[in-house]
């Protein structure tokens, strides 16, 4: 196998004295997809949030380019390349377009590139019809689709998806899977959580199970 892009080592996390994660190690390889399963409350979302820099671990180290760093010291610079998709996504006030385009203004794309990728994304996700609707009035499944599109349009190096398809209909799931496969082939690393392994058939390269704070493959 090639070099890992990022290596998270010794992640520990406690909430109010309850240790949720115990010495978890996770390597993220470019162009590979990891499926993370585990019972409700086992810590899947917490782990993804720590990797995304949205939750502070009690302890963690990050290794890349052959060097080890403390989580605190490098997470800010790393998280630019990592996008986390909430299990229950939050759509911002405004239209579907403004939500999907949100992150584009922080990229180095120019105007035409932005509007091109925006158009392509809406088309792909089947959101062209609702493009100008207020995002908060959408149905649960469509909201999830919008959040999904809002994340992958940025083509980050690492995409963390927290049960991204739980509320999607069959067609949308297939579409999303196709999309992820394409991104993978372009070198993106993906970590996805879910309770139905079969949804992600043909997409995942590795399957980890989280039990009692520990990762098992």
């Amino acid at each position: 196998m090639s070099e890992p892009l990022l290596l998270f080592r010794g992640i520990e996390k406690s909430f109010a004295g309850n240790q949720i994660l115990k010495n978890v190690n996770l390597s993220i390889y470019p162009g590979k997809c990891i499926l993370l399963s585990g019972k409700n409350g086992s810590g899947k979302s917490t782990l993804l949030k720590i990797i995304a820099g949205l939750e502070t671990p009690s302890k963690a180290e990050i290794e890349f380019s052959g060097k080890s760093h403390s989580w605190k010291s490098v997470i800010r610079s790393i998280r630019k390349n990592i996008i986390y998709l909430h299990q229950q996504p939050y759509l911002l006030s405004g239209t579907v377009v403004s939500n999907v385009a949100y992150g584009l203004r922080f990229t180095h794309l120019n105007r035409t590139q932005r509007s091109d990728s925006l158009k392509e994304a809406l088309e792909w996700a089947g959101l062209a019809d609702v493009a100008n609707k207020q995002a908060k009035t959408l149905s649960g499944g469509v909201q999830q689709r919008v959040a999904f599109t809002r994340a992958w349009i940025l083509k980050p190096k690492v995409l963390l998806l927290d049960e991204p398809m739980a509320n999607m209909d069959y067609e949308s799931r297939m579409q999303a899977c196709d999309l992820l496969k394409r991104m993978k082939s372009e070198g993106m690393s993906i970590v996805v959580t879910g309770h139905d392994a079969d949804i992600f058939d043909g997409l995942t390269d590795k399957h980890f199970h989280l039990t009692e704070g520990k990762l098992e493959s």
Partner: protein
């Protein structure tokens, strides 16, 4: 009672026929308070956001300080500012006493804690996912701040309206550092205080009603705009 009606009629008539003395008083009130609220809102929002999101240790104490500053009487702010701006005071050389600038500064001091306290409450009620979503999508901290502020804009509007109501209706500061000088620093509230001290209650109430009507037009407009936004939100 009767006198009140007549005085109100008179005041409204003067307002509509463009009585220049009344208008200058009214305009002065609004221009001073507008300046104060517009200058105060941005820094107050930044402070409120920092208090709600920063996890520096003194957080809660600072918040309690702002909350208790809500209880400072306007005349005390006026007195403090007077002591600062008086000739032999530290800023006496600026010759700001009995000017509109002094009134603006005083009113800014008055509404700052209000905007911080209420802004904090609004921002704190925001869903934590707003900030997380913004950060993970790559926004710099100030854009994340703007996103959060935009999500809670109705709460912030309420804060700003409350702050504005507070300063346009205050009299202690205007009286103390403005001086209630006709044509220079007399605003609606100091004019009311003057009429009241003369025993001309009807005229005081009439001026109050003028202020109320203008405030109503302003807030009705804002509520209308807010309402329009909400329909599409």
């Amino acid at each position: 009672m009767e006198g009140m009606l007549i005085s109100t009629q008179q005041a409204l008539h003067m307002l509509l026929t463009g009585d220049s003395e009344l208008w200058s008083i009214v305009m002065l009130s609004f221009s001073v308070s507008f300046k104060a609220i517009i200058l105060t809102t941005p820094p107050a929002m930044v402070v409120a956001y920092s208090l709600a999101n920063g996890n520096f240790p003194g957080n809660k104490i600072v918040l309690a300080v702002f909350n208790s500053l809500l209880s400072v009487p306007t005349v005390v702010i006026g007195l403090l500012l007077y002591v600062l701006l008086t000739r032999q005071g530290p800023f006496g050389d600026l010759r700001l006493l009995f000017t509109q600038t002094a009134m603006v500064i005083g009113q800014m001091m008055l509404c700052f804690p209000i905007l911080v306290a209420l802004g904090y409450a609004a921002i704190n009620a925001a869903d934590r996912r707003v900030k997380e979503t913004s950060i993970t999508l790559g926004a710099p901290w100030w854009f994340t701040m703007l996103t959060v502020l935009y999500e809670v804009r109705f709460g912030l509007l309420a804060a700003v309206l409350t702050g504005f109501g507070r300063i346009i209706s205050e009299v202690g500061i205007s009286m103390m550092v403005g001086g209630n000088i006709l044509g220079y620093t007399r605003n609606i509230t100091t004019a009311i205080a003057l009429e009241t001290s003369k025993g001309e209650f009807a005229q005081g109430i009439a001026l109050g009603i003028v202020l109320l009507l203008l405030a109503f037009m302003l807030t009705a407009f804002l509520t209308y705009v807010q309402g329009k936004q909400e329909i599409t939100a």
